[in-house]
Amino acid sequence: MTQPSSPADSGQLSVELTDIWKTFPGVVANAGVGLAVRRRSIHALLGENGAGKSTLMNILAGVYHPDSGEVKIHGLSHQFRNPADALSAGVGMVHQEFRLIPSFSVAENIVLGSAPSIINNRQVENDVADMARKYGLKVDPAQPLWQLSMGERQKVEILKVLWRDAQVLILDEPTTVLTPSEVDELGEILRRMADDGRSIIFISHKLHEVSGICDEATVLRQGETVAGSLDMATTAQDELARLMVGAAPAIAARPAAATPGKPLLELQNLSAIGDRGVNAFSDVSFRIHAGEIVGIAGVAGNGQRELADVIAGLRLSNNGTLIMDGTDITAVSAHRRFQSGLAYIPEDRLGVGLAPRLSITDNAILRVYRQQRRGPFIVAEKALSYCADLVKRFGVRSGDPDGPIAALSGGNLQRLLVGRELDGKPSVVVASQPTRGLDVQGVKAIQDLLLDQRNSGAAVMMISEDLDELLTLTDRLLVMEGGVIRGEFDPRTVSRHEVGMAMLSDTQPSSQS
């Protein structure tokens, strides 16, 4: 699409990415993306999840190889084989997951991998302290890493990249682990680094932070550049939001609305603790009726995954009540919930929904093997014929039923998983990112299966990051942000823009993600 044009007043460009293509099996992550970053500037890379931001930056940082396209750093063309190549050309990335060693000191973490064979601790600590002081990064080089907060660890990651003398720093969603005051501090630090002649690429989807910190912005959507090098000073926030979530939606032929029946799933003030030890979501209440698909929209990491886990019984809630078809199931085990008609299509297909090292047959019978027993044995013929039936009915393209499940493509994995879960005629279906990463036919097949469920009277809850999908498929739309339901919309009448703003709302900026 639009290629970024370098601004007229631009100084030297530090990064030029031209027509970058990158395809993963079944997914085009980058389709001819362009990006131009000026020296001495902080450049925001905006886009929804799945827009291709991280892929593009992993290409720039040497983690991925582009299928085609050109990477230029300071005017020179490069083809990075690995992150070390990128670093030696001056490109360093601070990833979302920190790569630090808890038992090492700050200084040791910083020099790790680039240290001379003999380390003079005192010398290294002094050097690190000098560098930290120069950019206003307040860390104690001698402190062991495990004592540091997430915000401080991020500073260590930034110092690590600076230590390797990166001229271009990529920060992947750096504010998700920070408190609001830390975000302001980060802005100042980045400004000092830019003034020192470096360029910073700031990946984000939180608009208000970006406008305070960044000079320019490039917006990606569905693997393409929709706007390049916008001047942040003159671009309105809702213009950016519109660019990120897309223009007025062309609503596809919506399936006929079913008449909802009695409530089958009801959440009353439900809360749960996330893996980081803070509330992943709190005080969530809603109902899903028979014959209804309710969509949960939101940027990943705002409590949706935990919500699905709690409903499925794989995570404990610490407050509130969960009612299924009139029965309180808050304290009922995951297996019992399944038996009483709750199907769960988890986000992590191969790690939760399927057993990656076992065969296709073994995975197909996961929900029914208890009924296929004769004495202690599982009757092999029953297992095989069940698997063959599932494969046939749900259009799974598979070879040997005794072959490993991991050899199937993403779409076929998901067909098998969804088919297996829906085979028990569930009354409630919870689907978490059911179409993510699938190719067009796969997406269509899964969506049709979920619609069939709705039409046959099940209550369906669908979590997705794809707003288009939710707007075309669901009967009601809830937006989750910061672990809270921010609003309920009628997808037939709501504008994409309205939902987009609710998804990105920062009325209560949260320190968790």
Binding site: H78, Q79, H335, L350, P356, R357, P376, I378
Partner: protein, 361 residues
Amino acid sequence: MKRPRLSLREQPLPGGQPLAFGTGLAIALFVGTLLLLGAGHDPLRIYSRMFDASLGDPDAWAITLNRAVPLGLAGLAVAIAGSMGLWNIGAEGQIMAGAIGAAWVARIGGDWPGLVLITMMLVAAIGGGGILALGPAVARAKLGVNEIITTLMLNEVAIRLVQWLIHGPWKDPDSFNFPLAPMLPDQARLPTLFSRAHFGLLIAAAVIIIASVAVRYTAWGYELRIAGSSESTARYSGISLPKKVLTVLVLSGAVAGLAGGVELAGTADRLTETISNGFGFAGIIVAALALMRPSGVAAVALLFGAVQIGGQSIQTLGVSSSVSTILQAFVLFGAIGAGVFSRYRVTLDSGPASTPEEAKS
């Protein structure tokens, strides 16, 4: 410039593991040749002696099979735990615990009929190994304590217990003050099948077959494999993980204990400090080479036994026992190394054309 790269095969090469084992053996023989030549020996003579002593005639086969029995049972013990992703590093101690249990029964039941006595000894051996594994099993199942550490540490406890018994309460009064337990009564010895091959061979074969069938074809084994593939998937499908961990680790210990009982009644004839003879640790290697599949341990144990017996035999030719140990190590290295290639393919990657910038750096 072309540089080799490893990339994961979508499916492992069929028959990759036997192939890997053969390759490992070939590498070991080649390196061994150099080693023997360097030490001034005639490799051909050494190798033919090794073969004759381990697989050359029925008597040699009997000795090798007797060695393969504890190796196979210990390997099975490790593999059962490994099927679920657990590491039982304590088979060495559990073998000793099993031997203690069997020796204790032999002491109190010296006048029982042979069949009853041997049966009770083996039951006690199973119990001994299981009891030693019970602590780590409970700690892992209830508290999530890493079973590698706990099972490993209990090895030390078991060896001290054996030492205390044979230096103290169980010392043979007729041993001229040597730290030896008394010989087993005759009816406590396992009968022989042919030559010196004892009945333990059938016991081990039966246990390995039962375990292989159980893991592959029963609902219990299915749940075990699900849990070994992904704990989250097991929880998702309603499998009780703590219960599974507990039973599997205790069972693993029980199988290792049985190895101790069989070794005592079949080969050792009395409780000694060296009753476990490293079988528990070798069992880890056996299980690893069998890719943690119970059905694979028998073949691996047989080969491993042959290498051990062959290696010991050449000491009479003036070759140091270290040489045989080194040969074993190379078989292992070679097999594991070659095993990598059954799962990965090597491609020559014509790296991206380097820019002048890169050529400089």
